[in-house]
Amino acid sequence: MTLFDIIFQGTSDALSAAKSVVEKAVADKGKEHKVAFPDTAYSLPVIYAATGKKISNLGELQEAIAIVESLLVKEQRLENGLNAGLGTALAAEIIEAAKYSVEEAPYVAPLAGHISDPIIRSLGVPLVTGDIPGVAVVLGECPDAETAAKVIKDYQSKGLLTFLVGKVIDQATEANVKMGLDLRVIPLGYDVTSVIHVVSVAVRAALIFGGLEPGNLDGLLKYTLERVPAFVNAFGPLSELVVSAGAGAIALGFPVITDQDVMEVPTRLITQKDYDKFVATSLEARNIKIKITEIPIPVSFAAAFEGERIRKGD
């Protein structure tokens, strides 16, 4: 299969998943049932930023599926691959929104799920000052917990904000990685679609700090490319859906670094098999330079630990 076909397949998968999830929600709750993420003024932020449309009930959510369909043009061209990737992002947001619509609490701690506006506002300053030099999205499954911990702690020690999606969350837990917003490691959720909650952060940054007009998709992509220093680490076997989501990340300007064999795209989709070099590869790909020199002390030392309380017994 060509790289674009893999992406198109992933988008089709995301599309049919979104369709059935929303259909079921409508069947259960009716079209008028409310749809909203908690604590945000931006409706479904990705759809809102990309199209300018606010969605407030399941009926409108169902209509939004047509946007995903319009983004899936199966001719083998980069723009179609990237658009399909964006389509997957929108489908993921639709699926996640449906979760929040029908379930009382789709995510329970430590899983974060949707990130609220106040948190994003609080992240704004350190992002601008470079105190948070980058945003790492780590998803999938590392070969073992030790590798997962090594990579995550490395980001943590460098002050990056790291979001975890999938089995890597369990691996981090198993390896005793300390998590939490103040520690700058945030487990989002186990489903691939929960990755949209970090995309949502980037998108709201554009709306809040970039003064982006909702509906200005080109402006959004330019902002995220130039101003949001995020990247994706995809570990373990990649389903078409994950590849397609990766294309969405690439469309936003976020490179994807994976330990799997893929058809590489220079600076955008990179295979790195040496886990010891994963962090360095990722930082270089996103052109992230760490401001503070690392201090060679045995305990990871960085701003990420400022919020950590040393408990007795530790």
Partner: protein, 629 residues
């Protein structure tokens, strides 16, 4: 922002204004001569007229299906075609031989020096010339000797064949088209096409490929390598193109032809302080050098010298009335330039004993005293400045900025920009291969060749290039095709905005224009080696790659030789002008069909640039589908 191109209509408007100048001056141009030729002879057009012995000329008609010796249409067309290959290969061969002699002449304090030492040592290593403890110039001379042997060595095959990806070498071996010595292949064709020798069309087609390969992987490749060694491997440089590069108040010298051993010296001479002062003494602000045809390509690649234009623009340069001298050496020079120059103050100066032209001022270029010799020639031009008739001057206000200088080395350096130091090695073609495999780029095409009055000049070049880049196919160009691109504005980095998103993104990341000027006609060897490097990287033979060669407006026998080595190298080749073989169904079948069974690639002929573009894109996609990419 969209790049504003110079449209074909605008180009034609300028041409017609210049044509008006010709009419006023009573000068004749190619348009008049084309007109006077009326409809060309059908027998020649179809390749079924033979005059290789004095029993003839014979021509093939339904009533006379055989010449006096019994040769039929297939034999005659094949022989004529093979002789075109031989002539083209001979032109490149002799060009390369000269360069090899110049390398052999090079010395520490002479006019010719070794400029790219690394490239020399690399080649010495490749050819088994020891360098240990040896003087640089001893190495240079030995390498030159080895190169010179390639033209006439009695045994073995060409050394550069070893550079080819395995699949190619095997194919050449198996199909017996691996070229031996360069001049031997040319001589063999002349022998086999003599009366009473080879009559089998297929056999002649194979010989044509072998001889073509002796050019691409022999003469041209040697020419390019040694030229880089002597004058430097090109690096990206900014230049300007089209007749607007001529200057109102400077001594305008136009260099035309092919051989860099002349043009490099003229470049040096035109920068010589003494001569510049002399020009000022004569009332000019300085010396302004501009190139035509492949000489323009050579000096723009290495020095950013401005490009006045391509093949069918050579007369236009004189028609501006602003050119003090047209200095020429060999190949693609209209003999009509002598009479044309007489209608203006322009001095038409021939320099090579290999290309004397009646009516020209002949000042033989002395390679042994190259710099002084060049100075003498430039001085002639300066002396002529006073004779310029200002009333006759019309310099079209039209020029475009362009990037040139994309040797393979330079391209790889640009590609290094997108490597990740923790994953990739630098200095490879991997990023290019990755872009092609992933589909970000759909493929690559080389657009080469001449102008031809049979088709609307430059129209096909420009249309096809635009179609390719809009469809995410990266274009490399050489020769007069590259100049057409330059004139239009397609060699400017801003032209990336005319490209599809895939190519545009690549251009932005790699910091290149969507069309890469890779040099002169002999520099097509660079294209071949680039494709070969990608094939090696992907571990597959060249015919599998989504790569195509296009000669939209070809005219010369050199172009025929080139076409033969391009298909011989496994790259499908599209022609915008019919070769003169259509009187033989068998030749048409061989070239557009059966040859694929021999070398894995074939010719396609299509005169409509829109249709040709479509077919090229289809071929590229078909190759991708076959590879599953």
């Amino acid at each position: 922002m969209e790049k504003t191109l110079l449209s074909i209509e605008q180009m034609e408007e300028i041409n017609s204004l210049l044509k008006q100048k010709a009419v006023e001056a009573g000068a004749e141009t190619w348009q008049d001569r084309k007109e006077a030729q009326k409809v060309s002879c059908k027998f020649g057009e179809e390749g079924v007229c033979c005059r290789i012995c004095s029993m003839g000329p014979c021509r093939i008609t339904p009533k006379a299906p055989r010449g006096i010796c019994g040769a039929n249409a297939d034999t005659i067309a094949a022989r004529n075609f093979a002789r075109m290959v031989a002539a083209g290969a001979a032109a490149h061969s002799d060009h390369a031989r000269d360069i090899a002699h110049v390398l052999h002449m090079s010395s520490e304090n002479g006019s010719y020096k070794v400029k790219d030492k690394d490239k020399l040592y690399k080649l010495a290593g490749e050819w088994g010339v020891s360098t240990e403890g040896k003087d640089l110039y001893d190495v240079a001379h030995e390498v030159a000797e080895v190169a010179l042997m390639e033209f006439g060595k009695p045994f073995g095959t060409l050394r550069f064949l070893d550079r080819a990806v395995d699949g190619r070498k095997e194919t050449w071996e198996k199909e017996k088209v691996a070229p031996r010595a360069i001049d031997r292949e040319i001589a063999t064709i002349m022998h086999s096409t003599h009366i009473g020798c080879t009559a089998e069309a297929e056999s002649l087609v194979r010989m044509g490929i072998r001889t073509g390969l002796s050019d691409g992987w022999g003469g041209s490749m040697i020419g390019t390598e040694l030229t880089d060694i002597l004058f430097g491997t090109p690096t990206p440089t900014q230049t300007e193109s089209n007749l607007g590069v001529l200057e109102e108040d400077m001594v305008n010298i136009v260099l035309h032809g092919h051989d860099p051993s002349l043009s490099e010296m003229i470049v040096l001479a035109s920068e010589d302080a003494e001569l510049v002062a002399y020009a000022k003494e004569k009332g000019a602000k300085g010396i302004n050098l501009a190139g035509l045809c492949c000489t323009a390509n050579e000096v723009t690649m290495r020095h950013g010298v401005k490009m006045a234009g391509n093949f069918l623009q050579q007369e236009n340069a004189v028609l501006t009335g602003a050119v003090e001298a047209v200095i020429v050496d060999v190949q693609c020079i209209f003999p009509a330039m002598a009479a044309l120059a007489d209608c203006f103050h322009t001095k038409f100066i021939t320099t090579s004993p290999k290309a004397k032209i009646p009516g020209a001022t002949h000042i033989e270029f002395d390679e042994h005293h190259a710099f002084d010799s060049a100075k003498g020639i430039v001085k002639e031009a300066i002396d002529n400045y006073a004779n310029r008739d200002r009333a006759k001057v019309y310099i079209p206000d039209s020029k475009q900025t362009a990037m040139a200088g994309y040797s393979i080395e330079a391209i790889i350096k640009q590609l290094d920009l997108v490597t990740n130091s923790h994953v990739d090695k630098t200095g490879t073609v991997k990023p290019l291969a990755d872009c092609i495999v992933s589909g970000v780029l759909r493929g690559a095409v080389g657009i080469v060749g001449c102008n031809n009055p049979k088709v609307r000049p430059d129209y096909s070049h420009i249309e096809i290039i635009k179609n390719m880049i809009a469809n995410d196919v990266i274009v490399v160009a050489t020769g007069c095709a590259a100049q057409a691109a330059a004139k239009a504005g397609l060699l400017d980095k801003e032209a990336r905005n005319l490209a599809g998103q895939g190519l545009r993104t690549v251009c932005e990341l790699v910091d290149i224009p969507p069309v890469l000027h890779m040099g002169s006609c002999v520099d097509i060897s660079r294209i071949i080696l680039l494709v070969n490097a990608v094939a090696k990287h992907l571990n597959m033979d060249i015919p599998k790659l989504p790569v195509v060669g296009i000669a939209p407006e070809w005219m010369s026998e050199k172009a025929v030789a080139i076409g033969n080595y391009v298909i011989g190298s496994g790259i499908d080749t599209f022609l915008g002008v019919y070769p003169q073989v259509t009187g033989s169904a068998e030749m048409v079948d061989l070239l557009t069909n059966r040859v694929e069974d021999i070398v894995g690639a074939k010719f396609t002929v299509e005169m409509d640039p829109a249709k040709l573009s479509e077919q090229v894109l289809e071929r590229i996609e078909a190759k991708r589908t076959a590879l599953g990419i």
